[in-house]
């Protein structure tokens, strides 16, 4: 029998600590939707997504009712469109993005990911077309997310693509400047992108994945924070143990929901993504967990060490709770989506350079950071190059999702709304990276890529 203490602990997690399942993401393979004209291909894409995902939202709601566990988002990820659209002969892939948008709306999901390409070693003709379509595609759609994998430990860094993506991010900001460059919040570049990630904007269904699959992303920063409040002043071994236990419990909720969703939808269960995903709501912040370690503000010296331990302890607790862990799995540090991060960025305790150091030990990268609109494309490419190097050379996933907001300067604020939150414009080092970025070419794979 479950004890009273355990019952009350669980109830408090849901009532006071914002425990929820952040997303159920259905991965759908679109390889068989290739066709010799874009019209035929788009029709196949629309038909397949709306057929397979038609019950996704309903099932999510049924599970919420059965267990009284909130499931915040229901989403879809698809095969990278650069692969699906290649045979169609289309020069501009915007109509594919519009098709995804329409299908997402029909299914009632709030985001669909997979307007994507993997170019770590070079461009195909189709990859190039997709990338050039991104600014238009993200400005005329509401629910489509785009991701580009620019680097991997096996292949090195495609610096031509790093250069081009700096330009594309600027163009996307310009194309959506009436909405504070919202398009850039739906565009992310990766090193070592996971092919089963359920979280946006980086979700897509990799080529090694099954026909259709259910991946679940958990959440739970509030639960970890509350657990740490019970061990104030104890040594860090105790802190690690406390995080592990809390992460175990959170992950088990995700696993329960994933298995139930998989069974009800008759679609195989893929993975649980253990990421601590914050929201702008008070009490749901990763920044505040780091402060609970004993730091006056997130961003103080010691923050990287605390984050490293947090990230590792979450993984250790989570892998005990589920055998199938994947995706990004760690702590997210998106500035605009985290109430604690927003505050320290506004007060100047958290700077871009510190965030960069933090990305060496967390699960993603420089995420949801608003920067001045006049930041040159080559500087954005420089930011991307550094982040890609961290991922490639440390054998981990890293990403960049920065938003150069047209007309805004350091100290201004932008509001993206909902889970995307709001953010102060952060200062960017003004020394030029231009000649470095203009070189192009490839940064060779690191020596430790040769493990055969």
């Amino acid at each position: 029998m479950i004890t009273d203490f355990e019952v009350l602990e669980t109830v408090r997690m849901f009532q006071e600590q914002h425990l929820d399942v952040r997303t159920i993401t259905m991965g759908i393979n679109l390889m068989d939707c290739a066709a010799d004209t874009p019209e035929k291909s788009c029709q196949k894409i629309y038909d397949k997504i709306t057929r397979l995902a038609k019950d996704l939202v309903k099932v999510g709601e049924e599970i919420t009712e059965k267990y009284r566990v909130p499931i915040v988002n229901k989403r879809i990820s698809v095969t990278p469109i650069s692969i699906v659209a290649a045979a169609s002969g289309a020069k501009d892939y915007t109509m594919f993005a519009k098709t995804l948008d329409r299908a997402a709306k029909e299914c009632g999901v709030n985001f669909i990911g997979g307007f994507s390409a993997m170019v770590q070693k070079g461009y195909t003709v189709s990859d190039k077309r997709l990338i050039e379509s991104i600014p238009e595609a993200l400005s005329v759609t509401d629910n489509v997310c785009s991701s580009i994998n620019l680097a991997s430990t096996r292949s090195g860094i495609n610096m031509d693509a790093v250069r081009d993506m700096g330009e594309i991010i600027k163009k996307t900001a310009e194309a959506t400047k009436d909405r504070d460059a919202l398009g850039c919040a739906k565009l992310v570049v990766f090193a070592n992108a996971p092919e089963d990630n359920p979280f946006m904007a980086g979700a897509f269904l990799g080529p090694g994945e099954p026909e259709c699959v259910i991946n679940v992303g958990i959440s739970g920063p509030g639960v970890i924070k509350a657990a740490l409040e019970t061990v104030k002043g104890e040594d860090l071994g105790v802190v690690a143990e406390t995080i592990k236990k809390a992460a175990f419990k959170i992950t088990r909720v995700g696993e329960l929901v994933a298995r139930e969703a998989s069974q009800r939808l008759n679609v195989p269960f893929g993975i649980i993504d253990l990421s601590l995903a914050p929201t702008p709501a008070v009490g749901d912040s990763v920044g505040r967990i780091l402060e609970e370690f004993g730091l006056e503000h997130c961003g103080a010296w010691g923050t990287t060490a605390a984050l490293a331990m947090l990230n590792d302890a979450v993984k250790k607790g989570g892998t005990m709770a589920s055998s199938f862990v994947g995706g990004l799995s760690g702590a997210f540090i998106p500035v605009s989506e985290d109430e604690g991060m927003i505050e320290v960025a506004e007060k100047g305790f958290l700077r871009l350079e510190k965030l960069e150091a933090m990305t060496c030990v967390c699960s993603v990268g420089l995420d949801m950071i608003a920067i001045p609109g006049d930041t040159p494309a080559s500087t954005i490419s420089g930011i991307i190059a550094d982040e890609m190097a961290l991922g490639t050379f440390n054998n981990k996933t890293t990403a960049v999702r920065v938003i150069p907001v047209p007309g805004k300067k350091v100290g201004d604020q932008v509001e993206f709304g909902g889970l995307l939150g709001y953010a102060p414009i952060m200062e960017v080092n003004t020394a030029s990276s231009e000649a470095f970025i203009a070189r192009g070419g490839r940064i060779p794979a690191p020596i430790h890529s040769m493990r055969n």
Partner: protein, 96 residues
């Protein structure tokens, strides 16, 4: 312990200020709804009334959502917070 897992069982938790008739009102609703109470523990924690019920939903007339809404209404009347959750959730979180 897994033998105790039952597809039709749920845990009801009631937390709030102590008052006359809390158990009576909730039990009356459950009886009306065809929900059998298997076990009740009740205690006053830091002046806060805390009750945990294990109930069997086998003969329940309503779905979980409807039952939860009705409990919410009773909770509002008495001034306590009532929550019902499937037992599977507790086993998943607290048992390896």
């Amino acid at each position: 312990m897994s033998t105790e897992k039952d597809k039709n069982k749920a845990v009801i938790t009631v937390v709030g200020c102590d008052a006359v008739g809390i158990i009576a009102k909730i039990s009356a609703l459950l009886a009306e709804e065809g929900v059998n109470i298997n076990d009740i523990t009740q205690t006053i924690l830091d002046d806060i009334f805390t009750m945990i019920m294990l109930v069997d939903l086998k003969g329940a007339k309503s779905e979980m959502k409807a039952l939860s809404d009705k409990l919410d209404k009773v909770g509002e009347e008495i001034g306590v917070s009532i929550r019902i959750q499937h037992t599977d959730l507790f086993y998943a979180m607290h048992r390896i």
